[in-house]
Assembly symmetry: C5
Homo-oligomer: 306 residues x 5
Amino acid sequence: MAATEAPATTRRPTLDDLNLAPGKKARLYDLLYNHGVGNGTLLILPIDHGLEHGPRDFLSNPGAADPTFQFELALQGGYNAIACQIGFAEKYFPGYAGRVPLVLKINGKTNVPSDDDAHSPLNASVEDAVRLGAHAIGYTMYVGSPQQSRHFEDFRRVRQDAERYGIPILMWSYPRGSAIEAKGGRDCLYAVDYAARVAMELGADIVKLNVPEKGEKDALMPQKYRDLEWDYADGARRVTRSAQNTLVLFSGGSKVSDEDLLEKGRLVMEGGATGLIFGRNMWQRPMDEALQVTAKVKSLFEDYGV
Amino acid sequence: MAATEAPATTRRPTLDDLNLAPGKKARLYDLLYNHGVGNGTLLILPIDHGLEHGPRDFLSNPGAADPTFQFELALQGGYNAIACQIGFAEKYFPGYAGRVPLVLKINGKTNVPSDDDAHSPLNASVEDAVRLGAHAIGYTMYVGSPQQSRHFEDFRRVRQDAERYGIPILMWSYPRGSAIEAKGGRDCLYAVDYAARVAMELGADIVKLNVPEKGEKDALMPQKYRDLEWDYADGARRVTRSAQNTLVLFSGGSKVSDEDLLEKGRLVMEGGATGLIFGRNMWQRPMDEALQVTAKVKSLFEDYGV
Amino acid sequence: MAATEAPATTRRPTLDDLNLAPGKKARLYDLLYNHGVGNGTLLILPIDHGLEHGPRDFLSNPGAADPTFQFELALQGGYNAIACQIGFAEKYFPGYAGRVPLVLKINGKTNVPSDDDAHSPLNASVEDAVRLGAHAIGYTMYVGSPQQSRHFEDFRRVRQDAERYGIPILMWSYPRGSAIEAKGGRDCLYAVDYAARVAMELGADIVKLNVPEKGEKDALMPQKYRDLEWDYADGARRVTRSAQNTLVLFSGGSKVSDEDLLEKGRLVMEGGATGLIFGRNMWQRPMDEALQVTAKVKSLFEDYGV
Amino acid sequence: MAATEAPATTRRPTLDDLNLAPGKKARLYDLLYNHGVGNGTLLILPIDHGLEHGPRDFLSNPGAADPTFQFELALQGGYNAIACQIGFAEKYFPGYAGRVPLVLKINGKTNVPSDDDAHSPLNASVEDAVRLGAHAIGYTMYVGSPQQSRHFEDFRRVRQDAERYGIPILMWSYPRGSAIEAKGGRDCLYAVDYAARVAMELGADIVKLNVPEKGEKDALMPQKYRDLEWDYADGARRVTRSAQNTLVLFSGGSKVSDEDLLEKGRLVMEGGATGLIFGRNMWQRPMDEALQVTAKVKSLFEDYGV
Amino acid sequence: MAATEAPATTRRPTLDDLNLAPGKKARLYDLLYNHGVGNGTLLILPIDHGLEHGPRDFLSNPGAADPTFQFELALQGGYNAIACQIGFAEKYFPGYAGRVPLVLKINGKTNVPSDDDAHSPLNASVEDAVRLGAHAIGYTMYVGSPQQSRHFEDFRRVRQDAERYGIPILMWSYPRGSAIEAKGGRDCLYAVDYAARVAMELGADIVKLNVPEKGEKDALMPQKYRDLEWDYADGARRVTRSAQNTLVLFSGGSKVSDEDLLEKGRLVMEGGATGLIFGRNMWQRPMDEALQVTAKVKSLFEDYGV
């Protein structure tokens, strides 16, 4: 049995733990306590898939190609915020301003070129977020990519602008690129654990992570990770711990059954997550179904107030 | 039969749907309602082929090498605007200023190097457009190119300048590059549909698209697109829908018969397009012929006012 | 016989045709009418070969290594201007300021690295030209090079600076790079014709071109160019036409016989050129010889006033 | 026996030898004489491993994943300073501000991509350090990397900002990249000696070096280095000498026995070092053990005051 | 016998020939006439080898690793100036300010990576030189490198800053890179002659050259250079002539015998050089020896006042 195990419990950080400047604190407080369940948890509806994956993600529910669908879902479902790109926000947020908080995703790319050398360019600025009245900005970091210098330098400027304007940063911290693939792949425990820590070290306020998965390439991970024994809950707990005083959101990924979704949601919240960020699992269904499962997730959140 | 079909009808967005800042709205309103047919449709005469293709496009109608030809055609034919590069505009627009609205195309390239790694550099700025009294700027985006980071970052700055000055953006959204060629090619439904959505997500006000075509490489498209059953009208309708509240223009491409041109024009207008952008189909003919077909297109537009 | 032929005559643009801002117009008027023959023609003495080719170009006439040689030739021969790099100008122009107009060549390179990926970096700025009292700046564009994005972006900034200060732009528009070599080579009709148009489209006021030549790689040109029938005069006329309202200068290239030089000069002036730019054909000879042939060229120009 | 030997003794520079501007001198004086042992020696606790190596470095002592562990160790152990990245500092330094001096590490990278082409991007700025009240900034230079131009240019701007704000610079000067590997490797005497000198030549105030090691690739070093006879102490003395009036810190590297640690510490202090920078050797143990060995190191420092 | 020979005598330019702005003239005048021999000649002591070659250059005279050695040599030997990097200057120049003029070398690199793609990044700025009270800046240009665009653009900004502040520029003009190696190599007559001219064309005030050498790769030079007959003195004279009104310094390179050094010094001064820049030939010896040979060089200079 391995000598080093994941901690049995993980403390969920409070806003005070983050030592935030006042603008960031005001906006995060509002997001965490005046929206959604209102108890310090976060449920975010991301809809940048039109850029990241293309309209193919809408083919199974054509109505979801219309941004009104997601804004209505966020409004009626009582999400803490919607996360989208600048063009989407410019055209559709005005109709929901004040009613649905906005996380402006300021970088993004298509998935047409290979991810071997992944880089997510800046499509908007922190100033755009301020102008639109967003509660936070979203930034995707491709951890371990051969383009990491470019990514880190982009992020430095974003972080400094966010500091200047008091805008919280939600980092999508994703292991990517040829070097990660050679060390276990984008979803392995080593990779996600590293990504969680990078978000903390570089200054994210909130980090969105995928739950680590066991996979065929696990033997490529560094020895210490190969030696660990872990299950789904351990994985979530471990990476949450590596993020330390950075709030953690886990994503749902592609669509799964409601039972799975809720069970996994419960496990990660147990593991110290602050919330969930569910896109395709929500808007790849008819509105009424989406509202029902949203209500179940929010009900689950009642147990995890801080 | 595929479960997901293109919508039977597509709503054509009105200017109010775009939530434009006042400068953009004023300029677009003037373009849409005070020029051309004047009913909210757009007929644009593009003439950047001297840069994009070289003078070879003028060999079949040598008079068209003289920019006066296109400016006269735009004036006499009553186009909503002419779209051209900075040098062309600096030398010839002064003689038509106030009479022919200008869309200043601010990036462009030659087609001498391979398109595998396509990038369209900035040859002018939004400020140049303001100084010249242009109604809008044009920007070509090579969606999916290995140079997409550079392109997206260029566009971010252009969009922010356009926001600052209230100048509408017409994006030529073109799938290009080696990765697109490996996934169905530049004109396949997958590629054009993705390009339409990218324009919306990144913040174009108007997008120029090619109508998707079936081709030999369709089997390279993602599965969901291979499964779709569609014809010309469906294709136009689908990509228009992916653009959502971005006005759509379709291009004519290389010269075809008048019947084809008008029939295809009718189909795309039915599919929700706001207008057409016809270059070689217009100026690769004698002036009188060009004026006749222009009149026919404008007549067709009478049915599509918004 | 090909259906599309070069025009029988080509109109030579006047300064008014260029729609110049006042600073540019004042400087070009002075250059065209107060210097040289004084009738709207241009004879420029270029001496950037020390940078572009190295001192080897001076080995056949060692005295020409001394910039005083070229300045004296420009002064005594009554050229419209001398064109040189910044270091050359800083050290030698002060002695001729007011007497010999200066075209400050603001970019340039050595020919040591291969031209496959040709790029000509900026060695000086438009501000340097203003400070020195230059009449114009010179800029080399390597049309079709894999580096075209970098070149176009450099030129955009140069053009905007030139606009701001009212400094005319003389573009050396040279097809270069591996892609051009694969489509007929740097001197083929297709390449030079494209280069002429690029200068116009991007905003040059004057363009320096080489006269197109027939060559072994002509079969690599696009079909439409392969189908054309043309001779030396046709070639000059065609590319002049593609430049439209951009004044055209033709270069002499490496040294040829006086008869050839004058006959070719006559043909290109007939074809609509505004003037000639002769370097090695002039200063690779003793001063008295150079002055004699200069006088002959100027005598030829008497017939081409505008 | 080789004609050129390492000097028998090496003088340890005083602050006055560095000719510092007043802001730098004030901050370094405070660091050297008001903290730690207080006699001009330096004991720094680095904790950027979460970024540089990933959380795997915490697996053997899971509590060390919590930055509070290192801050407590620095505080209770009486280190001169802690060195960490911006996100780490933003979240945890506020609780220790005024009690534990901060060296803000302003660049860093993951070790996921290969080091062949190593570059450490800027994740923070000198201004960030000023804002946080840091005593110094840390900068990693990968000496000899194919990316050296980018690194040197980054460092130029950092040095100029540090000059402007009076912030001392502690350079992690590390030989890295494919070319170094071909000349003896990152830890060979040639490489470390060169790295020490680069820090001095480019303007570091303090340099962190690894003690050179003999290795299998020593035969790849330049001849003059192959001819030298040297042991551990000679190596430390030689590279300290190459740094001249730059204060030298040596690192401990991966965890070794306490006896080794102290003996090696004594040897490098004898060789002219100003101090030590021990990370994994300290925080990869329980707190009480870490405090004990810290006390031993500080006791050793009593003999090396300046 | 070749038709074109090197000139029998070469005029040495005076300061007036350079048409310098007043700040440059004041500083150069002071350097040329108030220091060293004081008759318009220049003897510079360069000590950037710690960066360019690493500390291995000090192994034969370990005392030379201490910058005090070179500053003392420059002071006691009465050199016109010392040339060094920013870190070296910051730490040691304060003790000699006012007594030893400083040429601040503002770019430099290690020789760890291959020179195939040589680029010398900026490690300091002209402003740094102004702040330190330097008499001039030094800049290394790798002529013909594949990185020449980057180098030329760096130099443009340096030249403009130097113009703004009136700081003279001493260019180390060195042929380098794979393309030069394919055309005769870095020291061949063609390469050095080209480098001399590039310095003049781009705007150096003083150029440091190596004396051209005959070598095994001479057959790779362009034909015109292969045809020349020349000896050491001819080579120096020819490249001096290509530099025209740029003051020329020749370097000594690696250490040679005193007779050789003085004889070669005499030949290049005869050939029109303004002075010498001797590093390793000076400080790779004990101080008294170095002072003796310095005195001999200065005695030689008595004959070459201007």
